[in-house]
Symmetry: C2
Subunit: 349 residues, 2 copies
């Protein structure tokens, strides 16, 4: 099982995860941003490590960058007994995880996520990968990190948009966990976040994901619970991208959660008060994703072609109540359109 | 657990492994040789499959070829529910296995080895990979095929050298298994092989490997038993290659087995009669790898730098008797030199 460490003393945590492992060489993967902003904060623990720097941004999460990392490992004496520490956001942990998992048939790696979104999502759960041929995460393997070090100390300099984006995934985990966790998350003011409180919320949130992943490491069933909010969210994201007005992933998830909670309420009798509370929190913190009836055909088309869809039907994970999820619920076009109508009402569009 | 099918009706076996799996698309990976010589023999079972052809030979077991396979999968509608059948020797099964294991975080693949060496070695055991940066199998993952279909019907057209090369690995497995299996293998005339008898010998041989791999899938310990004969064998192979006189891998293993069985006799009291029988079989079927005392320093240098060596010491897997192996035995330079002296005596050099 993947070791999870929640701490604001990352240097100490790095010492802990390498203690007694007898790694003959340690490598640190950073992007241009984390090289500048984060690496200096933990340098004391990584004095002997070889630093590999890659360009920042999802457009560089590709085979060329992966090949660069493999070469750097090779040309600097990495063996099967070496360690790779991925210090960055989702691009660094996804690509670094794939590099480590495929180098000499797998070397140990540790994820040290530096954004809230990667802490709560990409860094935990064993999904590694790169984009290929224009498709997201088209190549990759399932391989868990030996350890994930989760800290909020790197978040102080993150833009508010970044924090909110990650927080949407935390709300999703809260809904999957329990009513009390959901309420605790909606009581927290992410716009003026205390990083200590956030670390405590993160601990529960990441463990929700960890628990689900452990029961379904290769995404055969239960893990689809984590898709909550993402069927509609991905459609919003794709639609916005296609109009050259990209929206942050987490914002799309927040709005998608509202639309899918409408479906949970209508089809699964989830409490109206939960839907109202969620919609209010999302509207106040994320604003609204503006759509009209004219967008419905395009949005439904994206949903029918979602990569999680098996037979071309629209599939959602829905909630009977907080903590009680059902995966793989088929949604008719009419039900989805009705849900989008109510989403627009709730968002004040 | 990996399904093993021993048959001379490969078309039927292919139907069996795909039955009930609901693959939405089947792909077949071949190289230029197996496309011409082997594919027509099983075409009836693969009428709807998309064929991906790669250049033949170890020099093409690289990232460029792997990228070609990934692209072919992508551009011809492969999904997570597709199947890749690797129809070829070790290059095809190693590279195809890696392609499948890393495509969309892993799709099913079936190995159908077309050489004796790949049937007894590469196709079973979950090692996938490609060469990179001038290093053999530098990139790859551990991922077992869903099924391995083992047949001798493709071997009729193999050169005798190829058959003998694979047979050396079978002798190794026989030694690891039992005295009776070892004797049965030395009673078989690989120079005039009956393919039906060979299939029966292969069944035991492959299961020996399968059993060891199951107990140690990621090569942490016991699997090093399979390294029998390879410490000296690899040194012979590297030495020959460096002199621009490459020798087949299996021949190097046969000669390495003799030298290491000398060590087993000297250090572990393995029966002299087993050593004599092995040396006679190898000399008669493989001839001898010619070395003099002047080659010893170079050979020992290769052994000290063997990739399986952890601390720079020479390590061998040795036998107390057939069926009774000890892995990770440290060998002094003097002991190795003495063993090479006796190897030369036994080989008549």
């Amino acid at each position: 099982m993947q070791q999870l460490i929640f701490t604001n003393d990352v240097a100490q945590a790095l010492a802990t995860v390498t203690a007694g492992k007898h790694y003959n060489r340690t490598f640190v993967l950073v992007d241009e941003n984390t090289a500048r902003l984060v690496l200096p904060q933990v340098q004391s623990a990584l004095a002997d490590a070889h630093v590999i720097t890659i360009p920042a941004g999802d457009t560089h999460k590709n085979l060329e960058t992966l090949t660069h990392v493999w070469s750097e490992l090779d040309n600097n004496g990495a063996t099967r007994h070496s360690l790779l520490i991925n210090l960055g956001g989702g691009v660094v942990t996804d690509l670094g995880g794939m590099a480590a998992a495929t180098f000499k048939r797998g070397i140990d790696f540790v994820n040290c996520p530096t954004t809230l979104l990667s802490a709560v999502d990409a860094a935990v759960g064993g999904k590694t990968g790169i984009n290929f041929n224009g498709l997201k995460n088209e190549l990759g393997v399932f391989q868990e990190a030996s350890a994930v070090i989760i800290s909020t100390c790197f978040f102080a300099t993150l833009p508010a948009t970044e924090l909110k984006s990650g927080y949407a995934e935390m709300i999703k985990h809260g809904m999957l966990e329990s009513k009390s966790e959901f309420d605790r998350l909606l009581d927290f003011d992410i716009a003026h976040a205390s990083l200590d409180t956030l670390l405590s919320l993160l601990e529960t949130s990441v463990k929700v994901k960890q628990r689900i992943v452990e029961q379904d490491p290769h995404e055969k069933g239960l893990r689809r619970a984590l898709n909550l909010g993402h069927t509609v969210g991905h459609a919003f994201e794709s639609h916005a991208l296609h109009q050259d007005k990209p929206i942050p992933h987490g914002y799309a998830v927040a709005w998608g959660l509202v639309a899918e909670t409408v479906l949970s309420h209508v089809k699964m009798k989830m409490a109206s008060s939960d839907l109202q509370a969620l919609a209010t929190y999302v509207r106040n913190n994320y604003g609204a994703f503006y759509i009209t009836c004219d967008d419905y055909p395009t949005l439904l088309d994206y949903m029918h072609h979602d990569k999680k869809s098996v037979s071309g039907e629209i599939n959602c994970s829905l909630m009977r109540a907080c903590g009680d999820v059902e995966t793989g619920v088929t949604i008719s076009d009419d039900d989805m359109k009705a849900a989008l109508d109510i989403y627009r009402d709730l968002m004040g569009i």
